[in-house]
Subunit: 472 residues, 2 copies
Amino acid sequence: MLQRLMVLATLGLAATIAAPAEDSLLSPAAAATAAALRDRVAAGSRASDWVKDLNDLAGPRLAGSPGDRAAVAVALEILKSQGFANVRAEKVIVPVWHRESESGEVTAPVAQKLYLTALGGSIATPAGGLEAEVIGVRSFDELDAKKDALRGKIVFYDVRTARTRDGSGYGTSAVYRGSGASRAAKYGAVGALIRSIGTDTDRLPHTGGMQYDKDQPKIPVAALSIPDADLVARLLERGKPVRIRYTLDCGDRPDAESANVIGEVPGRERPGEIMLLGAHLDSWDLGRGAIDDGAGCGIVIEAARQIAALKERPRRTIRVVLFANEENGLAGGKAYAAAHAEELARHVAALEADLGGGHAYGFSWNAGPGAQATFKQIAALLGPIDGATLTEGDYGGADISRMIAGGVPLLGLLNDASTYFDIHHTANDTFDKIVPKDLDQATAAAAVIAWSLAEAPASVERIPAARRKLPW
Amino acid sequence: MLQRLMVLATLGLAATIAAPAEDSLLSPAAAATAAALRDRVAAGSRASDWVKDLNDLAGPRLAGSPGDRAAVAVALEILKSQGFANVRAEKVIVPVWHRESESGEVTAPVAQKLYLTALGGSIATPAGGLEAEVIGVRSFDELDAKKDALRGKIVFYDVRTARTRDGSGYGTSAVYRGSGASRAAKYGAVGALIRSIGTDTDRLPHTGGMQYDKDQPKIPVAALSIPDADLVARLLERGKPVRIRYTLDCGDRPDAESANVIGEVPGRERPGEIMLLGAHLDSWDLGRGAIDDGAGCGIVIEAARQIAALKERPRRTIRVVLFANEENGLAGGKAYAAAHAEELARHVAALEADLGGGHAYGFSWNAGPGAQATFKQIAALLGPIDGATLTEGDYGGADISRMIAGGVPLLGLLNDASTYFDIHHTANDTFDKIVPKDLDQATAAAAVIAWSLAEAPASVERIPAARRKLPW
């Protein structure tokens, strides 16, 4: 075994690019190490502790906020205290959006307080609020059909988010959050409201990023909590005109400095080759970022820490990157890909954990076809912890997606997201939502994936040159 | 059968007082009618519609508020539109407490926003807020043990509420809400906070009534949401002094006018004898009073409506009473008992529905021992809808409890309260929390109980004279 490893080692970088698939498979001994790692971590880890520290000591950490600065300090402290190497904060300039206050109410045909929250990126309303009649629509098609009735009105997008294990319900409805305001403004609407992109029934609205179309007037946009969306929908059904007033004090501020926080477990043979474990350090401002993405931070920190605790460090370096500003700008992911552009060729893969702290039922992969055999082997290793689902495609996660330019194989941890969108982007994103045994299992999965790719004789086939572009 | 009924009818009032137990049993034919009523209502009713109307058209309805006035109008409209007789609003003078705004934050050792809400009855803080170090206690015993450390501090009562089917967990913890402020003030504390009296994990604090001890200084008191209570508890565990600032703008206002809303289904033989179905019309101000006590209103309105829809009205009158001001004063219950003092002798029983809209697994009763056989017969009728649990004792419900002075048998509908205290007294008390099939089943139970007691040949034995006092 040792001999074979030595031979491969002498092949150097060439092996990482053109190796046949079988060379990136784990030996039986290595697979046994991975299995032991899996079982040890799944039986109990400190992943929850790192989430708790971020939740308690930093709390909400929207890019450029005091909480964001606190989070950088907390993350650096965790990585240093846990013995990571090359711990550093790599500067990132981030956009800043801030929320001061927000309120809303139905003013006709009855008076009812509404729980709502500005979408991230929204402009403010006039100080006294914006009041108009509400027109409800359930799709962009319905919006288009009602276009002549929207001038001076508030458009209410009443679109439900389906509960799914893979989070696909979010993809379907979140487009209304992203572009609903500008599409309504195009027809003369003065405001826009959406049913929260969520699957709960709490009076806690879901914020999230929105983008203005530069060719349309900017109008203030907010999300109603699900029960409040229900109320407005029922009042509309009752047939009398419904009027709403809402007041948002929020908006953009000058860019600020934040950081990608990085720590490493240096490889024993090829320290210049990187297996990247990523999550994002920032969060929306309403909750404490426990599941989004404290959970991911806990998973990747702990996975690397558990790998470092093995008798022998893996062949390649494990690099943990806690990205800045995923939520409203992706400045951290962009900055990392740019600053490390030349090094991307030596990133053997990147795995992102940004789908909460639920049980990891598998992972997605996007790489060259020759990589499939390795991922199948890793998935099989995750079978005993019910994590063997393998899906091909996607881009791993927003933060790592920009590394596609370098052909870096992109992996995404597939946490069970059945309840994720009950909490996501709300004030309810707090530490109590972490289920330690699920987080430990997800951490075990991430550890096995990272260790396997850091240890395999050859690295897996990279994303072919023809596919090294994001479709958006 | 008819002959027997006629004989009993001629006995008049005497029969309602001293009848042997067997005379208050239902005949087989009457029991069959009750069973048919049960099955029809449980299969589907309009109970949810009445809750929806109160939720949507009145919303929050704290005594004396605009929503309270709206609720009186909505309730009158429902009763009139559904053909009730003698529909009326009986004037009640209610205390008024109002909430304008509230906020709070941890200021040391970290900065964290807190979701909190003033307890009903609390005084305001100074306009700029109240800030002090926090001392955590888990019981009054611990408070007493720490009494020398409380001067100038904020006491935080960190007492958990147990999830139970019968709601007994609430009884154990709510005492800290009621008297925690004054007991802390006695030792020089300047403020008090409690862990919300609730079983959820939402950032939605639970309000509820508190009372000041007239011999102690009044200090402002608020409830932290459960996740925020968790955070404060964890920060205290970390060992550094924890400081909190909170600002409450709230307080008492002059008394106002509200009303008990009443409607009847007149009895066919003894219209002067009353079977009372009660719930409370008011609610706390944070939610829309769907489960507390819109559900109870829906149950009793619909139970009576379904009884009225039978081929034949029952022997006695069914009187629906939607009480004012249960939450912060009980003025409605007191006013009813006073205004109807002379009529209480002709109230054959009162049943209150004030434990949410969950499945009714039975009912409690408080009456003379001779009544037990009748209640057992009624409970058996509820067996097929899983509602046969019979518990002896208690006072039926806060609103009807004052009728004990008249010896009125007091019954309480036992809804499954397992999830009730997730929602109770929070902003989350909204219509979506109503499960129509459970509400229908509970309505069926209330209808059977009310119809049976209104129809039985003789009324059940009343509460003996020696027990006609409340223990508080």
